[in-house]
Subunit: 567 residues, 2 copies
């Protein structure tokens, strides 16, 4: 029997980076270590000496050196904790938030590391949730619509201010000197792989989901970029690259320097970078069609694989080779889920429930879950639209807002809590049915993320509402496991790893025994309520009554009139 | 100059009776005294010896002797407090909740005083909020519609389970022995006047608003009552009376016994009984057309006078001589106002605001009012339908429920509080405009009740939303003042009182100096929001989407299935 081999996955999150060391044979997690970024999310002022450089609202930056520090701290820590021989670590994979991008010199040096550019906010990493590029996103969409760009349909007809070219265009608009100084513009995911391997490698996942690339058509034409801004005409050839490497490939081997950072052997195979959500799919055992993966936390990301290209209205996008090589990876999302429950718990629960939770030694979510679980479907008399944070799929409209109907003088907090859970479940059902009715089958739902662990009632409601069995990933850290799996694939079978992510998933990924099956009685009630949810969904979301937009518009008008922007 | 004269008003409320002694010359309140009913609202079990007699849900009874005790305790107390000579008390008036009715012997003895009937709940007073007669109300409405009864239009097309014949029919349905034993069925308002004067006198206000009587057409025909139930054919002639006395008339003089109870002189003039809401109209200075009186508390009662008969769709009713002799009194209402704010404060405000209120030594309403006052109209981004307790006017539908739209993750409690206030103001505007557009002018709104005293922000919002100036009754106890005014009219000018309620109002009623004028800027924003309120109002309230009814229906279905009624 051969000696045990290990792979390491590094998951770069919003506040920290996490390394996990797993056994390649079975995916068992042997050690985990977290590095909290020294500068976290930079959203008030740059971490520079001298006169403070304040950031405008909606900005969110990071320091690229925090990523390097993650390698230096967390990777040696897991090797040490697990007590394994670094020579037995056969591969390394990483996943990242996206689109998180930065401008660098041609040699990879981040512009924010250059003393003369360090005080310019545009020289830093723009984090996924940097939301200051909405005007640029609007221009990208309007120009694409005007020119009849075919790729727009792949993204449900609208791209986001979070995406790559929105952020790139903001740099050009507001700091042309940074744009000009940048030899490369790239995803942080690809930048960290470059730091590990010494060579720039651009992954198909972020290119496809965030930068408008497709395997068949490449990037939008230069003429499109020129129409956006003449200075942008050559952006692909001068700042990006037309060489996009499918996820599942090997990016290279660890450089001597990266080997010193990590304590691993020089030459250790490194996988092409991945996105934190998408890397969960194989880590949740899904490498084929018919099984949706739902990453359930503050929001939900829904991913499902298809053998063919399909246009599904209102989804976030689909990318060939985007999740699993050889398949189309379809992505949709709900922009507010756990966030809505947190809002409710923080803002709308009276003291008596707080006191009861303390007495029963539960957190407030647990108490409300326990109370809400006493109710039968339909018993609250309430129905909500889960749009507290807008709607990402299938309406793709950030100006939609939350709605609650059915309140009476007898309505109590656990009833509203349950109605909010149900509303998010109805939102997932809309997405599931959009896929299913457009030829992308969803027969069951594999979940991962924080919510499935925390809230069993929610899981049962989702099963009852969607009519699908829900299963749960067994990995304590699903994204990091996925990255480690890609590390094992980068190593290849000859080195003790796997030749494909399918093989890796079969051995390394597994599900929990407990599943959540639809209950026919509850399903029947929810089928009825879902019709009313759809009625409200279409009335308020598809132009029947644009009151939500008018309220948002009025709110911002009033706010501007009340408080001058320069005050 | 003649010696000062006084009048006493007794206001019979839900939990207590209140006597007020006022100066007839100027309405100034010299003394007030409250008697808390010894049995309050009887809604769990009858106050009888022996084996308990439990009441079903929705029942609400009272003990008629509590009303007599009010005369015995509160009236002597105000005379004593004020230090006046009982001989200078020239008149007494009373007002009552309605419809609050009871079965009595032909001599006025309440059936619940008879030992052999005392343990029958139907022998007791049915309080206005006794809600167990809905099946009877449904039959009354259905039969009236089927027979094309013309009076139904006077009540907006539907009568309430709270009204006289709903309650009378419930007695007949469930306790025919009580119905048969009753020589008379009458309003408690008329019963207490009978106790004071020794003679039965039925007032035009309750007869008109609660018992389907009109000055021109009298009661519905015997044939209608026979169609409801053959045993009911002669109900008017056997249990009620066709002699209805207009409010403003004298019912009689105090009997020797009543003089002993009250400490007043035998023969002291007693006014025809009135209803607590309606008696506020002249007490709030309103004796003519064009000025709405709004009694603002847990709910709002809106009253306005008209010179002509007008059909206003969806109002509660209109009665000639119902409020002021010679005019038509129109009544409408909102079933939830202060109740909704109380619901919110009790059920949806997180601990931080409770703590802030304690710190600032405010109650939670005051704190939320102060915070909400910082917001400009439209700034919350929220809009609500104020139907937490159904809709009384103009939709007349108890199955409607509350709705909130516009919630985001940034929504905070004071914003919702303000949106709820605004929603009730929009609800008042719907009523004001219904009157105005059907020929019953509403040029300004005179308010009384608890809310105008407590919440200045609410008053300003109502002015801004309705576009009407709001004024406030100066009387500390508006209904009791109104009753005292009618007492002074019962005495007449020759005895030191007045010959008409118009004269009495001119001298005895007054308004506060502070008024609330519409602010043009706020009006403009609210005009815009009102259009959206109307859009939602009609969509959810007039059949565009009956989701509220379906939710209520489902809730009761589920509830019944879950918890057998006999469990």
């Amino acid at each position: 029997m051969s000696k045990r081999k290990y792979a390491i996955g590094v998951d770069f999150g919003t506040e920290s980076g996490r390394a996990v060391l797993v056994d390649v044979a079975n995916g068992r997690e042997l050690a985990t270590a977290v590095y909290n970024y020294s500068h976290g999310v930079i959203d008030e002022a740059l971490p520079v000496e001298g006169k403070p450089v304040r950031l405008e609202p909606d900005w969110a930056l990071q320091d690229p050196l925090d990523y390097v520090r993650t390698f230096k701290r967390a990777v040696p820590a897991v090797v040490r904790q697990a007590g394994v021989d670094p020579a037995d670590v056969i591969g390394l994979g990483i996943d990242f938030t996206a689109c998180t991008m930065l401008p660098v010199l041609a040699d990879g040096t981040p512009l924010c590391e250059l003393p003369d550019l360090r005080r310019n906010p545009h020289a830093w990493v723009k984090l996924w949730k940097h939301h200051a590029a909405q005007p640029e996103a609007d221009r990208i969409n309007a120009t694409a619509r005007a020119m009849g760009e075919p790729w727009l349909d792949r993204y449900g007809g609208k791209i986001s201010s979070e995406w790559f070219f929105s952020k790139a265009l903001q740099i050009l608009d507001e700091a042309p000197e940074i744009y000009n100084a940048a030899g490369r513009l790239l995803e942080a995911a690809d930048w960290v792989v470059w730091q590990l391997t010494g060579q720039e490698t651009r992954n198909s996942c972020t290119a496809g989901y965030k930068a408008l690339w497709s395997k068949r058509d490449g990037f939008p034409a230069d003429a499109y970029f020129a129409a956006l801004d003449p200075r942008l005409e050559q952006v692909i050839d001068t700042k990006l690259s037309r060489t996009i490497v499918p996820i599942g490939d090997r990016a290279g081997g660890l450089t001597a320097q990266a080997a010193r950072w990590t304590g691993l052997k020089p030459g250790t195979p490194v996988a092409v970078a991945n996105v934190d959500a998408h890397v969960c799919v194989p880590a949740a055992t899904v490498t084929g069609t018919g099984r949706m993966v739902a990453i359930m936390g503050t929001s939900i990301c829904h991913m499902v694989l298809g053998a063919e290209e399909k246009l599904v209205p209102g989804i976030c996008g689909y990318v060939e080779d985007g999740i699993i090589p050889g398949l189309f990876g379809f992505e949709a999302g709900q922009s507010g889920v756990g966030d809505i429950f947190a809002w409710f718990v923080d803002n709308a629960v009276p003291p008596a429930y707080h006191a009861a939770a303390r007495k029963r030694k539960l957190d407030l979510h647990q108490l409300l879950e326990a109370e809400a679980a006493q109710l039968a479907p339909g018993e609250s008399g309430l129905l909500a639209l889960d749009w507290w944070n807008g709607n990402r799929s299938v309406l793709v409209d950030v100006d939609l807002s939350g709605l609650l109907v059915g309140a009476t003088l007898a309505t109590r907090a656990p009833e509203i809590y349950r109605a909010l859970i149900e509303a998010t479940a109805f939102g997932t059902r809309v997405i599931v049915e959009a896929f299913d009715s457009h030829g992308v089958a969803v027969n069951e739902i594999i979940t991962c993320g924080g919510l499935p662990e925390k809230n069993k009632l929610l899981m049962q409601i989702y099963a009852d509402v969607t009519g699908r069995e829900l299963k749960v990933s067994a990995a304590p850290q699903t994204p990091a496991l996925g990255s480690a799996m890609f590390g094992a694939v980068a190593a290849g079978r000859a080195a003790g790893g796997y030749d494909s992510i399918l093989d890796a998933a079969q051995k390394m990924a597994r599900l929990k025994k407990q599943t959540f099956k639809p209950q026919p009685k509850a399903q029947k009630v929810y089928d009825q309520l879902y019709q009313d949810y759809l009625g409200l969904h279409d009335y308020f979301g598809r132009g029947g009554n644009d009151v939500m937009k008018r309220l948002k518009h009025l709110k911002s008008e009033v706010y501007i009139a009340k408080e001058p922007l320069n005050a």
